[in-house]
Symmetry: C2
Amino acid sequence: MKANIITIGDEILIGQIIDTNSAWLGQELTGLGIEIANIYSISDTEEAILSTLDLAIESADLVLITGGLGPTKDDVTKYALNKYFESDTYFDEALYNKISAYFKKRELPLTEYHKVQCYMPSKADILTNNMGTAPGMLFQQNGKVIVSMPGVPHEMKWIFENSLKPKLDQYLNLNYIICQKTIKTVGIGETRIATMISDVLEEMPDNISVAYLPGTGQVRVRLMSKTLVDNTEIIEDYAQKISDILEHRVYGYGTILLEEAIRDLFLKKRLTLSTAESCTGGYLAHRITSVSGSSGYYMGSFITYDNNFKQQFLNVSEDTLKEHGAVSEATVKEMLKGLLSQTNTDIGISISGIAGPGGGTEEKPVGTIWLAYGNKSEMRTKKLQLNKDREKNIENTTIAAFNLLRLFVQETYN
Amino acid sequence: MKANIITIGDEILIGQIIDTNSAWLGQELTGLGIEIANIYSISDTEEAILSTLDLAIESADLVLITGGLGPTKDDVTKYALNKYFESDTYFDEALYNKISAYFKKRELPLTEYHKVQCYMPSKADILTNNMGTAPGMLFQQNGKVIVSMPGVPHEMKWIFENSLKPKLDQYLNLNYIICQKTIKTVGIGETRIATMISDVLEEMPDNISVAYLPGTGQVRVRLMSKTLVDNTEIIEDYAQKISDILEHRVYGYGTILLEEAIRDLFLKKRLTLSTAESCTGGYLAHRITSVSGSSGYYMGSFITYDNNFKQQFLNVSEDTLKEHGAVSEATVKEMLKGLLSQTNTDIGISISGIAGPGGGTEEKPVGTIWLAYGNKSEMRTKKLQLNKDREKNIENTTIAAFNLLRLFVQETYN
């Protein structure tokens, strides 16, 4: 089973926007056991659409098209599809009523464009879009399935998940069942995971495959099977065996984010957190607060970028800064001590380092980062030696901070 | 003049990484007046590479290939290219010596793979890569140019900018000169800009085109000409005329970032900045500190996510919080007052709002944001009414904050 993806729009070709739809669809299709053969990004002209459709349909069973379905005249996708599949159109009264009601409720003006949008191809199955005005369309030809969806990411995702995915196996006559489980790990590399779980992998049935999907400081381990019978239980069993070996490196399953796992852990243990950042400059606070519900445990942060701030607000002593420097174990310890003594929070973490690209010395090169974390009765420290890239250093430090907090809470409050 | 881009690698197809190279190249080529016809993302198999090369060369004058040039056996691009262009290979002694020296200096082991990497196609011109071990390769066929570069973004960009771009007009016999200037604006929409500068656009010669490139809270206005004579001065003239009309909405030219413009402004005026954030949760501090050199003017931030923190560290009164709520003009004013009175910084800004998706009320819906900014003698406030999306609200608020600070400093310290 193979798929091709076509993304339509000049704004992608000229680099005005980065195509994230393809990557999302690529992950989803891979998760369904469908191989992606090609991704084509093309101009929104009838000629480009028709010639690419020819190519794409020839080499795949499923073609997913995104973009070119908005209410403006630039969007020629629907007309090209009608031409390609030699389809008539009809006025979709129900769709028009739905759009009218939506606009009325929001007191927005309904234009002639929206009416034009309601002429749908008679040869297409309509895929409901609850996130916008343009529905998806599904065509079938010689056993192949061609789907067109709008390019707005949240609309496309909604249609794929709610209107297409549940029906896909019946459209494509998929005679297999996909079972999968993704184990989310942090603080351990791909090679080390593979070595640790090699015995389990050896005894695992051949029809279960394993994939390692690396991200910054994190690796997802995905078990998947494509079989005629339901393998859910076997996959669950092996995921459990692997988790037992990887132990504390596993922070969750599926699509959970590390910052969500931290939030859930702190809320469950009824603990509060505050932070003190120097070189990460607020990125840790940003990641913590990027998930909703964080206000339930996160109190705030002192971004003491300047050394005077470290002294004035976290009581770091001038002697410590002079003797050991701002990037030192002694300084992060005093930052944490100051943070915990001044705030009424249970857990704290402090960070100071050289993010780069400048500021490194022979003794403390760029990428030297110190962290201190703990509560009023126990304080731990950690030194990281990272690389030259400012952005990566800030991100890696933040992931490490999350992991240190997670392990400290798990060990201390069980 | 048309170009096609081919990105090679299964990691793109399965959505493990998002292809940012194409967007970058799309912008660069557009800037050179070259139209991008298609972007193909394909598997790293010889078959896929050969068949896509056929397609891509047929419909364009220039084909840029990224990916598939690393030192591992998975990377078949070079072999496919040799086959396609019927090219022999030779051992590039100079390249091998360069790589050996690089590895020796960094005390890294040189493997057999690196030796294999030094066999280069005799039909290709070599494009030096100072950022990694795999150089780029340029083939010519029937007046068309085919370039292969590694997929690692900073290597690809270095090769394009340093080894390819300076020679491209001679390879492609570009008989025109590209002149362009990009005006960076903030706090004004595309339609409003177009209306304001319509008179200038009318008198502008037909061979100068204008493009509006929107981003979050920002619009880039690009003037470009593709002519036989050098239009630099005329373009500069019109950029100046447009800037004169747009006035304070223009913060810079070319590729400068808003956070860099802010840094440069504060450093030039020798002013220091501190911040107090609630709903943006550290994102403003993160954006400020994401550019190096920010430590020259930025002191730090109080992330008072919790109301107790607002009271304890910024002296916001309990009465104010009770009477007006945390999201109110009165609260952000007290936050700013507390910030400036406690720190020894020249300028401050405070933010409190409802980022969403939860927490809205009839009176204060999600997206209500208050900001206060100024110095010890003058305090200004601003209310934003944004939308439902947490991530977008945080980003838009941060851009607005940058702009308010910029305008305040420009007006107050000239």
